[in-house]
Amino acid sequence: MTKQNNENPLKEVKIVRIPSVYPFYLAGLAWVLGTMILPMYKLSSFLLCAVISAAGGWIGTRLFKPEEVQVEQLKEETYASEAVFQAVEEGARMLDELREVHRKIQDVQIGRQIEEIEQVTAEILNTIKKRPNSVGSIRKWMNYYLPTTLKLLNQYERLEEERFKGRNIQESMDKIEKMMGLIVTACHQQLNRLFEGEAMDISSEITVMEGMLASEDLIENEASLKGDYRQ
């Protein structure tokens, strides 16, 4: 049984039924009881003990129902390659960390920026799932920019906790706040880049089609058409 995880868009919460361990103890106790009444040098006694023990275990499964536990895991889907799976898995982990630090940071502006980074990062990872060939282009983002952002945010959170904020602390916090604006912009840019190839392909297709339509006099004025497209 699964349901959508409200926290991390890349993960889902799965309800796992964990069987109780008590039947094992009951089976053991049943065996001990069996040994107390049977002569334990006969094969038949061992078989009978096994039956008694199995019965004890079975009664245990009836008495102690499995425990239902919610487990957070990556959504079950087919990934195009191991690299994509690893990127999504790592991304999901960093999203969890971002949410954790988001919870701790009190500054509203920084909070909003983290939220934006979370959304765009999730979108980047979802795009990667659909366009596995682009996985290479987010490597630097995943391996350097996002971890460094997390590091800066953790430092910001620690500085925020300080009761007396001296000049150095305030300066550091200001620097991080300014940097966060740049990171948000870079994050959008990173997502945009994933569509760069596709945008170029579309543009080329349109140019070719425009030329062909004009050469066959199917359109009156090539320039006016261009104007329509490029308004």
Partner: protein, 182 residues
């Protein structure tokens, strides 16, 4: 503690420990009790006599024969009397059914050699009767020993303990099995 008990590994390990532990302890107790019960027959049988009691009687008769009766006709240092005394001591010292059987055989040999020698001596009718009585008593002891159910019970036990898993458990616990009286 509760968290540890709730772990599957702990539960499985506990199950194994309970199975192995209780089986080991109970198998050891059961096998020792079985051996003990059989060995008890050597000392006390249900019918009231046992090999041990007959061996005691044999030792008493032999002692009486050598040290009370024979010395009237033979020199107390004579080899036959000494052989009987030595065999009696050996039987007293013997441990285990097998060793007792061998000591008893030696005592029989020494007794009958002494009786043979005494038969060659001149004695009146009373003494002759007494000698015959010794002979009859010793024979009677051997006869009763031969009818003991001890060997039969030992045989039954050994056959049972030859089967799986009793044989392996006996080896594992190094249980000393009762010996046949032969």
């Amino acid at each position: 503690m509760n968290r540890l008990l709730k772990k599957k590994t702990t539960a499985i390990l506990s199950l194994i420990v309970m199975i192995v532990g209780s089986t080991g302890i109970k198998a050891g107790i059961d096998l020792n009790r079985l051996v003990e019960q059989t060995e008890k027959i050597f000392v006390a049988e249900e019918e009231g006599f046992s090999i041990q009691s007959k061996l005691m009687s044999k030792m008493e008769f032999s002692n009486e024969l050598a040290n009370k009766f024979a010395i009237h006709f033979l020199d107390s240092d004579c080899a036959e009397i000494q052989a009987v005394n030595k065999a009696v001591v050996q039987l007293q010292m013997a441990e285990g059914a097998k060793e007792k059987y061998q000591a008893s055989q030696q005592l029989d040999q020494a007794d009958f050699q002494l009786i043979g020698l005494l038969e060659d001596q001149t004695m009146d009718d009373e003494d002759q009767k007494e000698l015959n009585r010794f002979y009859a008593n010793l024979q009677n002891c051997n006869d009763q020993i031969s009818h003991s159910i001890y060997n039969e019970k030992v045989e039954e036990l050994l056959q049972e303990l030859e089967q799986f898993p009793a044989k392996q458990l006996v080896q594992l616990f190094q249980i000393e099995l009762p010996q046949r009286y032969q």
